[in-house]
Symmetry: C2
Subunit: 518 residues, 2 copies
């Protein structure tokens, strides 16, 4: 894609791989019948922006290839120059998990990258925060309004005296009671809450608010192991202990908060190597450009991070399921590949019990954005993971301590994925989007990368990086990859603010509870 920048008014389509028999229209507003592509094909009909055009004549049943991979089969004959839309494509079966190759082609390590640093908050356990936040967690949802009331008062009355503390965040959620807490699925939300409270941005200080009679008692939520990992101190306020009503509850929470604010306020940013980053990758509102522009650029940045010794997590089971055979081959060891297969198999069964499968993933917006099905979406999605060996796999809500590229198994739902990546100990988040979403998290900065320049122009105060310049040849994948890498270091070090943080756009935590409510 390193060509001289053409005028974007010339008809232009992108073919990703030499084997592809479809290409994606780049021009904003699409192209009209009769337009002659630089790939040597003339359009027989109008093709919308980001949608696919046939580069060859296809017979019914022929393989449709993008990213060098079969994304489906022609439902009927398709002449070259035709619009290859969703209705013309029969999706393939997902790769059989039993046949996936185990660590057959782990890539060799890339050259080590030295000398990149950011200013972070070093924790006693060695982890590094990118923000300095007082977290007030809850064991159970009924306490949430009380905690939010207390958080407002703490922000207004106490926080101004502690200028080194960035924020006070309530870890509120919908779990803790009215749930089948001994069901097999309960392990996931419980460990998520436990590990969420250990996020490096909380500095080892935790204030936990319990009602007193809930199913998820504080000891069960925290667990012995988790308490040992916590470098700082955990305080628990039990609302049902209040003898003088609501005022006493709020006063108690505020009294427990103050010494924590004092300790957090002692923290200062110090230079930390890029290897202290734990970067979570996600995409949302994807289009057909995601796999050509933003995701490959993030993949290049992921490789830079891995070369610098950092942890890079990718996630979203239903969006990698169709690429399972490629990822197991890339695993560093057979054990890692088997752990990956276990997570795929568990999710297959979870969906089956609910009467669904991975094909439930794509949205109307994905489809309007040119993504025909979950296979095409998956092939674009895994581009985020770059090219290095898969070093580890974590189940939903598990903590990640491994360096290098790690698969943290999560649903693809943006907020559940974000919450689970926070529990996995993420301290920076990269989010690529084609259709656009005003997504944000309170706990870590979220850098939003647009897959197309149209979105970046329309939403100048929400999008942090425009990767659409790759499609128009104004920049290369490598250019944008370096730009993202450098922006991560700047934002992690507190020298630059994301748009989501500028506006305070912070989505709620959403737990993944595969168990029933009662």
């Amino acid at each position: 894609m390193k060509t001289a920048a053409p005028s974007v008014t010339q008809p232009r389509a992108i073919r990703v791989h030499d084997d592809d028999n479809v290409a994606v229209v780049v021009n904003q507003g699409g192209l009209a019948a009769g337009a002659r592509l630089d790939l040597g094909v003339t359009l027989r009909e109008d093709v919308p922006e980001a949608h696919k055009v046939a580069l060859a004549d296809l017979a019914a049943g022929d393989r449709i290839v993008r990213y060098g991979t079969v994304i489906g089969y022609a439902r009927r004959s398709i002449a070259h120059g035709s619009w290859v839309h969703e209705g013309l494509i029969d999706p393939p079966q997902p790769p059989a998990l039993a046949d996936c190759p185990l660590a057959t082609a782990p890539p060799a390590p890339l050259p080590r990258l030295e000398g990149f640093t950011f200013d972070g908050f070093r924790n006693a356990d060695g982890s590094v925060g990118t923000k300095n936040i007082l977290a007030i967690a809850t064991t159970v949802q009924c306490t949430a309004p009380t905690v939010k009331h207390a958080v407002e008062r703490i922000k207004a009355e106490l926080l101004p005296r502690y200028p080194n503390v960035d924020d006070v965040v309530a870890i509120a959620h919908h779990y803790g009671c009215g749930v089948a807490i001994d069901a097999p699925g309960a392990a996931v939300p419980i460990r998520t809450l436990r590990n969420l409270s250990l996020n490096p941005n909380f500095g080892g200080e935790l204030l936990l608010v319990s009602l007193g009679c809930e199913k998820l008692q504080p000891e069960r939520m925290l667990g012995g192991g988790a308490l040992k990992v916590l470098a700082g101190e955990t305080s628990v306020a039990v609302l049902q202990d209040a003898e003088q009503g609501f005022g006493e509850m709020v006063a108690h929470i505020m009294a427990l908060a103050e010494p924590k604010l004092q300790r957090l306020n002692q923290r200062h940013r110090v230079p930390c190597p890029a290897s202290d980053l734990v970067v979570g990758l996600q995409c949302g509102g994807s289009d057909a450009f995601s796999g050509v522009t933003a995701n490959p650029a993030v993949g290049f940045a992921a490789d830079l991070l891995v070369r610098a010794g950092a942890t890079v997590m990718f996630s979203e089971v239903t969006e990698v399921r169709d690429a399972a055979h490629l990822l197991t081959a890339r695993a560093a060891t057979a054990e890692v590949a088997q752990a990956f297969i276990r997570e795929m198999a568990w999710y297959d069964e979870y969906l089956r019990l609910g009467g669904a499968d991975r094909a439930a993933n794509p949205t109307p917006g994905n489809k309007r954005g040119g993504l025909a099905n979950v296979v095409e979406k998956a092939m674009g999605s895994i581009a985020k993971a770059g090219s290095t060996a898969l070093m580890g796999v974590a189940g939903p809500g598990e903590r990640v301590t491994q360096k290098g590229l790690v698969f943290a198994a999560t649903p693809a739902s943006d907020f559940i994925c974000g919450t689970l990546q926070l529990a996995a100990s993420m301290n920076m988040h990269i989010f690529t989007t084609g259709r656009g979403t005003p997504y944000g998290l309170a706990v870590v900065p979220v850098i939003k990368v647009a897959t197309n320049s149209g979105l970046a122009r329309r939403w100048p105060d929400l999008i942090d990086v425009d990767a659409g310049r790759i499609a128009t040849s104004e920049a290369t994948v490598e250019d944008i990859g370096w730009e993202i890498f450098r922006l991560i270091l700047e934002v992690a070090g507190g020298r630059k603010k994301t748009w989501a943080d500028h506006w305070g756009l912070h989505n709620e935590f959403v737990l993944f509870n595969p168990g029933p409510v009662t």
Copy 2:
């Protein structure tokens, strides 16, 4: 229970039904071994407050009877005067649904109650609001922070000009995308969101915020039928239409809000008969007193409401499951009984798929509060439903239009139950609690009734009614029932504020999604 008030320092225990072979200790702090109960039994060991004492010698396998119903079987022999704790009781099987009697004993109608009114906001469709709220609903969770940002600005900049509008509430939730929207379970959250937007407290005005590319598109959420029911107007803001970023999105939402505020501001409270009330009943943090004090008093108030022509909903499937045979017998028709059985069977299967059953319901707090198992909890819980015939059954998230006593099937989880009752068109909420919970809803007032006076004394600024006075014989079930009924009319008419509204303690909406996330 109409006896002269004894000193609460005298040993006292309550036997609910003549057939009961256990009674519940009333004295705060419990009773010590040697205490002689007014029921003629001397304690052999210490028994905590609200826990059960054996009134007769029981052999292993003997039936343990409370509320005239078998709540379990003695695990070993139990001498009279012993503490009958959870560990001594084997729970019974739930009633077989196939054997439940169909409408065999519907109670005769009680005398009609006339002349009770409250000042409500009358809607064009005949429903009546107890508050006058501008609702800003979302189709999908990613828009929530943008909506909350807009709501804050509307409250600060626009609301002061519209003094007859009580509040602006964001109907935010975790559904809409990243979910298997065609799975069988998806019908429940979708119809819940649709019916939630029709709650009478929103005056038929709805402002809906969509991202644009989400799975739950506005047309699908609202549906043709729902739009027809809406008396007022629905406006939809699509964030992805914004050409100039975040500022334009917020300005667009505010511009759509203003004419709605103008129309809502024209509304005034007018006298309405008590028959316009739609009262949702719920309990949370129950103890062994719940079924003796608060729930029977609420049941008496429910009978008064039914006599006045109102709708009274009770819910919480896992807490009525063990009383299914009693409720099907009370159904007005065989069809109503069969609809009730259908809801029970659906939930049995839902729990089975998740590896749980109804026994997953009780909490550690319930058990510390003396409730041995879900059977004992259920027998206390259904006391809320009073004594009238069961007139109708609604599935989770369905709208209730039936007058009289209705079962609205919901999980027992407080917030899910409250959200589903709001969707069912509730305009007043009664919540009984033994252990205590600082629960509240933004959309309708929540009257909190304590089952014991200890809680009412400890939480004077959270509990609205002390039903514990029944246990100490300071008041009768009828006294407290009338007090609750009159308080409902006062609060519904805007003449009195609940403690939850005083503090602004408003729990988030929580949708019931039996389908998988993707």
